[in-house]
Symmetry: C2
């Protein structure tokens, strides 16, 4: 899909959410995968001649916003949706998730990722930061779906040096395969380095990953401080809290500004200051944290330190969907509830976070925040003729608190139309194949 | 709409959620507003002759469940969706909600309720327990929409005896208008008695309302113990907690088993035991409680005492939608988060609560719980061809955690088809009128 797309004009959009706030009655011109112009809709005929090659989309009764950026996910786990719920973490992993994951084939991972991409596109997400196994199958699935994606191969060595050496070799080979010819358009699907966590990776693996991230300009994607237990375990083993441990290893110095730390729930003040000092981006996963009873993300503490925050659904096995509208509402409501303060995390802020406007971590790869001229043509059109979108006293409030993924009408990613009028061309095939593979997987995983 | 509808057969439904659990591959026969049969789908031709007058619906690729029961709402407040957010309770009421409500006309309330009904039907809700002003307009709106509704005229006297006498007169007149000719089919729209709360109503008004509820067989609908402050105020004024005060007034004795207490967040053990003793139904409003930072509903304490629990979105001004799928996910996740236990409030239990299966409070008026032969024909068909519904390892989990209102395909209420293939006949007109009235209302309310 990495070819310059046809120019598109979205005409007469009711509301456009831009970096400068909500603008009413605009035309959006998309060209060469970028936003060429956001301009007020004039009287008919006043816009001058329109290139007849241009694809026209009617924006009346619609709002345009930037595509959502899913900052942390395990896309292929859609095949395990509802496979284990309402359980404590360890029995859930040991009795349900791990036995099933042990049975996953490369084809399963491809189709699970296609199902995830289908779900994300249909609910307005244009970019996902993924961490899973079989990176080439994940990469291919996102390419075939037309989404932007950062693909991280989940690394674990459990302190085993032979396993570490084999993993390092494998990662270097994957990176060699990834790097194609230089192109003026950033590749929409690109690799990250993704050591799973400090409790599954040795210090040596983390240091090697950080050096590689710095050397090759890769994002460093890791789970950090999701549960109180892992912080306690780190303190017991090393006398240091997790982010202090990363600092001592030199990982923050080498790759802090390239790091996205998923969950990041249990930080003390010293760690919050470290995260701010080294420019780490944190990915908040409200549904997953609530469903697994992991704890409450300290949004205010990050905001006070200007730490870049992104939003994520995690994998569907702990959510159980990939709808960023759900995550926005949960994130805002969780802050208000947990801290007893209804003014916390207001609608416009969670919308900025969800569209990636509070972090520039993926900007080098062409992933942008709110809509702006010159920015990437990753645009979502929301249909305002849904009952929950009526009336529009405050569009941002409607999006954050009232909407769900079903209000998304049209999705454009890197200038390509992925969904129009809620139709995604190959959705039937993806649903069928994923259904079939999920049943077969459950049958194989049965004890 | 109170006429016996045509018989309907929903054929070949993939899954039917009944009182006896999930049944696969069934036909549902609906006749005279009731479920005549739920039977296994046989080979073609085996079902015997089908009445040619019967309306046939294709259930393939669908799941059937009971319509959701919205246990507490202020439907007309849809006109104030997004009109005030992220504010503390008092400034929110004083600066935004009350000035706008002061400008509401009867027509506004009619069209706001129509918008609410449209939103509820499109997200699978077939019954609402409403509390608002201008009961005749609310009643008419629900009738015109075809939904079941319990309509309560919100009563406040603030201790003013002249106001109380006028209100009592008004309520008696409304009840006289309500009672039509006796009918073998319960009227889908019926009155309740709805004193707003103990902090807006005198003891005398509460006692009068309880006696009236007992005398006329009405449900007694009230806000109770939503915030910690109102409990403190009650203790300060009377030396009793709110439910103790109701007991002292004789209100629990007279009308406890007919009472639905909305919110019911801040109860101590003595009050929990009172609620159980008198058979009060409690209505949990998770989105509203979280958004206004009111506190956490003690679900486990109610469950331990077999207190009937229902679920509700409250008014959209504090939510901001009426989607019971949102409420199910929020309720379950809030329990897990707040009490640090992922096994709390599992999917099948919240689904039972949301469909009204845990309370028989409205049963005399024909409002049922899960699907069962002989029960009311209030049936929702969910389209399983949405990405978030694939795969089906566990249908109840998919409904509670993965779905949103957009998966609802068809809604049948009291045997009448209100939505089919997501189409509701007069939705355009309702959206237009509500939009227009909401703008005009905001213009009038501007200071």
């Amino acid at each position: 899909m990495n070819v310059p797309p046809t120019a598109i004009i979205v005409e007469n959009v009711d509301y456009v959410l831009t970096t400068a706030g909500v603008q009413e009655r605009c035309d959006l011109v998309l060209d060469q995968g970028r936003i060429a112009a956001i301009r007020s809709t004039g009287p008919i005929g006043s816009t001058g001649p329109i290139d007849t090659e241009m694809r026209r989309i009617d924006g009346r009764g619609k709002a345009a916003l930037a595509g959502f950026k899913n900052a942390h996910t395990h896309a292929a786990m859609t095949l395990l949706r509802g496979y284990g719920d309402d359980m404590r973490l360890l029995p859930w992993l040991q009795e349900r998730i791990w036995p099933a994951e042990a049975q996953l084939t490369g084809e399963d991972i491809y189709w699970g990722t296609r199902l995830a991409a289908l779900e994300m596109i249909s609910s307005g997400t244009t970019f996902a930061n993924d961490m899973y196994f079989q990176a080439p199958r994940v990469r291919q699935a996102f390419r075939d779906a037309g989404m932007r994606a950062a693909v991280g191969y989940a690394l674990f060595d459990f302190g085993d040096s032979a396993r570490r050496a084999a993993l390092q070799e494998e990662v270097m080979e994957l990176l060699r395969q990834e790097h194609g010819a230089p192109s003026p358009i950033p590749d929409p699907v690109f690799p990250t380095i993704a050591p799973h966590s400090i409790y599954t990776c040795s210090g040596e693996l983390l240091q090697w990953a950080a050096a590689l991230a710095a050397d090759q300009g890769l994002v460093f994607h890791i789970h950090m401080s999701e549960t109180e237990q892992e912080v306690r375990d780190c303190l017991d083993a090393r006398g240091l809290r997790p982010f202090q441990w990363l600092e001592q290893l030199g990982v923050l110095e080498a790759a802090g500004s390239r790091m996205i730390a998923a969950h990041a729930v249990w930080l003390d003040r010293i760690e919050l200051d470290l995260v701010a000092k080294y420019g780490v981006t944190v990915a908040h996963n409200p549904a997953s944290n609530m469903k697994l009873a992991s704890g409450c993300f300290p949004w205010r503490e990050y905001a006070d330190r200007s730490v870049p925050v992104m939003l994520a659904p995690d994998g569907v096995a702990s959510n159980n969907n990939l709808d960023m509208f759900d995550e926005m509402k949960l994130a805002a409501l969780l802050q208000k509830h947990h801290y007893g303060d209804p003014t916390r995390l207001p609608a416009e802020e969670i919308l900025a976070i969800a569209t990636g406007a509070r972090s520039t971590l993926f900007a080098d790869s062409g992933v942008g925040g709110a809509l702006t001229e010159g920015g990437p043509a990753d645009v979502v059109l929301v249909d305002l003729d849904h009952p929950q979108m009526v009336p529009v006293h405050n569009l941002e409030s409607n999006l954050a608190y009232a909407a769900n993924g079903g209000v998304v009408d049209t999705v454009i990613c890197a200038g390509q139309i992925l969904m129009e009028g809620r139709t995604i061309p190959d959705s039937r095939e993806v649903l069928q194949e994923a259904r079939h593979r999920a049943s077969a997987l459950a049958a194989r995983a049965r004890p």
